[in-house]
Symmetry: C2
Subunit: 187 residues, 2 copies
DNA sequence: TGACGTTACCTGCTCGAACAAGTAAATCAG
DNA sequence: CTGATTTACTTGTTCGAGCAGGTAACGTCA
C-alpha cells in the first residue's frame, strides 16, 4: 500500500484551510468530510422521514420491497448491506406499524418472506417525494453536470472503501492474533 | 407512480444488478451514494478503532481535545456538530476508560471542563495512524488531484445540507402546525 | 442414515444519535 | 431585587448498527 503521507502533513494534503485547522483534523480531510456529510445527511433524512412516521433506514427497506417485491430477510440484508440482527428488529417494527407482512417461505422452513402491505402503498409516493426533496437539499445549487460528478466521486470512494473492507475482513479471518479485549465504554 | 413489480420476483431474490435499477433507488442517486459511503466509512472506522479500544465518534472527541486542549462540553458539541445528550454519555464513557478527566469550570458553575489525561497521549499517535489508514482506504487509488476534487465535492454537499437543515429548522420553529404523533416502532 | 458444517433467523448487549423533559446556574428585564 | 428567559448539562427513551451467542432447518459426504 502506498503511504503518500505519514507524518504531520506539510504543505501537501490540504492547504486550503489557511490557518487554524488542527493537525489531527487536517490529517484526514476526506474522512472528516465524509463524517460530517454523513451525519448531516442522515439528520436531514430523519427530519423529512419523520413526517411519514419512518426512521432513517426503514425507508430503504420499504423502497427495496416496493421495487423488488417480497423477499427473504437475507436478501434485504445483502442488498442493503445491513446486518441480520438489525434487519430482524427493523422488520419487526415495520410489521408492527403495519407496513410489512411476514410469511414463511414454502421452500425453506428457515426463511421468512417479507412483503409490503397494501397500506404501505400509500406511503410509497410520500417516500418518493421525500427522497426527491432530500436529493434537492443534497444537490443544492449544483448544476446537473456537477451532480453527476459528485455521484461519480462518491462511487469511486465507495469502491475504495469496499475493497479496503474486504481486504481488512480477510486479513482478520486469516490472522485472529490480537483479540481486542475491551473498548472505551463502562470499562 | 409506476408499478414495475408487485408480485414475487421470478428467479427469487435478486439475480443481478446491471439492468433493473429500480425507480426508487434511481430517484436519489446522490442520496443513495452518500448513504452507502457513510455506512462503509463508519464500519471501516469502527474496525480500525477497535484496535485501540475506541468506538467511532469517540476518536473525534479525543482529537478535538488533543488539538485544542481542555474545553467545555458545549464547545465540543458545537465544534463536532454533535448533541449535548450524546456528548454527556460519550464523555462519561471516555472518562470511565481513563482517557478524559472532568473538572468544574471556575467561572461558570454550570459548565464542565473536559481535558485529556496523560494516559490518553499514548493513544494519540495510534489514532493519527488509524486516521491516516482510513484516509488511504477512502482514497484508494485516487491520484492526489482527484482527492482534492473529492474533498471539494464533499464540502459543497456539506454546505448544501447545512443550508437545507437550517432552513428546515427555521421552518419548523415558525410553523409547529402538524406535530407528528408516531413513527414506525412499537406502534 | 448419521455426523458435520452452513445458512437463516432471533436475542442480548453496547454504543452513537436524536428527541423530550428536567435541573441548576447564569443572564436579562422590570 | 424579583421574575422570566437562556444556557449547560443530565437522564430517559427509541432506533439503527454491530458483535456475540444460540437455535432450527438445510446440505453434504461418508
Amino acid at each position: 500500500m502506498i503511504r503518500p503521507d505519514s507524518g504531520p502533513p506539510g504543505p501537501d494534503a490540504v492547504e486550503a484551510a489557511h490557518v487554524p485547522m488542527p493537525p489531527s483534523v487536517q490529517a484526514g480531510p476526506m474522512a472528516h468530510a465524509i463524517f460530517r456529510v454523513a451525519r448531516l445527511h442522515r439528520a436531514l433524512a430523519g427530519q423529512l422521514l419523520r413526517r411519514v412516521g419512518l426512521h432513517p433506514g426503514q425507508e430503504l427497506v420499504m423502497m427495496q420491497l416496493w421495487d423488488h417485491g417480497p423477499q427473504r430477510q437475507t436478501d434485504l440484508v445483502r442488498l442493503l448491506g445491513s446486518d441480520a440482527a438489525t434487519m430482524t428488529r427493523t422488520i419487526k417494527r415495520l410489521e408492527h406499524a403495519g407496513f410489512v407482512r411476514r410469511r414463511p417461505s414454502p421452500t425453506d422452513k428457515r426463511a421468512t418472506i417479507i412483503e409490503p402491505t397494501e397500506a404501505s402503498l400509500a406511503l410509497r409516493h410520500q417516500v418518493d417525494d421525500i427522497w426527491a426533496e432530500l436529493e434537492e437539499c443534497t444537490a443544492g445549487e449544483m448544476p446537473e453536470k456537477r451532480q453527476a460528478e459528485a455521484v461519480q466521486v462518491l462511487e469511486e470512494i465507495e469502491a475504495s472503501l469496499t475493497l479496503a473492507a474486504t481486504r481488512l475482513a480477510q486479513q482478520q479471518t486469516d490472522d485472529p492474533a490480537a483479540p481486542p479485549e475491551g473498548r472505551a465504554g463502562r470499562g
